[in-house]
């Protein structure tokens, strides 16, 4: 699969999906003009991966978001549901949720997503601003 390398903009995050290394990063701010246009290719690629190599690989997902709007939150929920489904079927999936020390909302949002993850291992990490 071809890697995904999307540079961050004012309103959209950096996305780095390395399918060979099984590492996945979404970092920055997310309130893009069109959430569907931005995230559909990302979601499709993720689905393809989870149904293919991802089913048996050890995958590391890192989320380092400073701000995301409610439309993005829907996408994140979809991503986490897909990851949990794959992990329940036997995939090894680890998620790291990074947040700024002072940002208790981001910490809280991470905890809320983590609530529904059983087979996926989830870690909350403080990062320097």
């Amino acid at each position: 699969m071809e890697n995904i390398n999307i540079e961050a903009t004012d309103r959209s995050p950096e996305v780095v999906f390395d399918f060979a290394a099984n590492t996945f990063l979404i970092k920055g701010e997310s309130y893009p003009e069109d959430v569907t246009t931005f995230y559909n290719p990302v979601l499709s690629a993720l689905q393809e991966y989870l149904e293919g190599d991802g089913a048996s690989a050890k995958s590391m997902f890192t989320f380092e978001l400073v701000y995301f709007n409610s439309s993005t939150a829907k996408i994140l929920m979809e991503i986490f549901d897909s990851l949990e489904e794959a992990a329940q079927a036997g995939a090894s999936i680890h998620v790291t949720w990074c947040y700024d020390e002072e940002d208790d909302t981001m910490e809280e949002l991470g905890e809320e997503f983590a609530e529904d993850l059983d087979a996926v291992t989830f870690e909350l990490i403080v990062v320097e601003a």
């Binding site: 003009e33 709007n69 409610s70 939150a73 909302t105």
Partner: protein, 172 residues
């Protein structure tokens, strides 16, 4: 030129930032870029900065999606040291009852209920047409202090002016 009408520093009592006009994607970009700078300069409380910004984005995106003429008004003002963010746009009269009921529901919810319901709504399919309070209003409600507020003022042509506002707490 798309820009805030900047009247005074944020945090001072009164209307600090006003935008009244077409809400396009360019407008969202320009206004949010400028707002980030203003928040950095005027609001030292970083948590408040983030909450104000989050409420602003949900509100302006709401106008973008639902205002029948694509026009709206955003006001960011100081109220006894806290920051009030308000949005206004025209709405068809036949929408009033539904919005009143949905927003009234949110108003009556505890913070825990709002968070729980927010999460449920994240899993619901995207609504093609406005079916009352979407996820955005839940986000606004959770970021603000006190219940979300709203009102309707009659306009001509079977429309009303729909206003939603909330206050964000700012630490001293």
């Amino acid at each position: 030129m798309i820009a805030w009408d900047e009247r005074q520093s944020l945090g001072v009592d009164g209307d600090s930032l006003i935008y009244d006009g077409a809400v396009t994607q360019d407008a969202i970009t320009e206004l949010s870029d400028r707002l980030k700078d203003i928040l950095e300069a005027d609001i030292p409380d970083r948590k408040a900065q983030r909450n104000i910004f989050a409420v602003f984005v949900e509100m302006i995106e709401n106008i973008y999606r639902y205002a029948p003429d694509g026009m709206g008004r955003l006001v960011i003002s100081g109220r006894s040291g806290d920051i009030r963010i308000s949005m206004s746009n025209a709405i068809a009269n036949d929408q009033i009852e539904r919005m009143t009921s949905r927003l009234g529901e949110i108003r009556a919810m505890s913070t825990d209920d709002i968070k729980a319901r927010y999460k449920q709504k994240l899993r619901e399919p995207q609504e093609a047409t406005s079916k009352g309070a979407g996820v955005g209003f839940f986000e606004i409600a959770r970021r603000g202090k006190g219940p979300i507020s709203f009102l309707f003022e009659p306009l001509d042509d079977g429309q009303a002016l729909f206003t939603v506002f909330t206050d964000v707490a700012v630490a001293r």
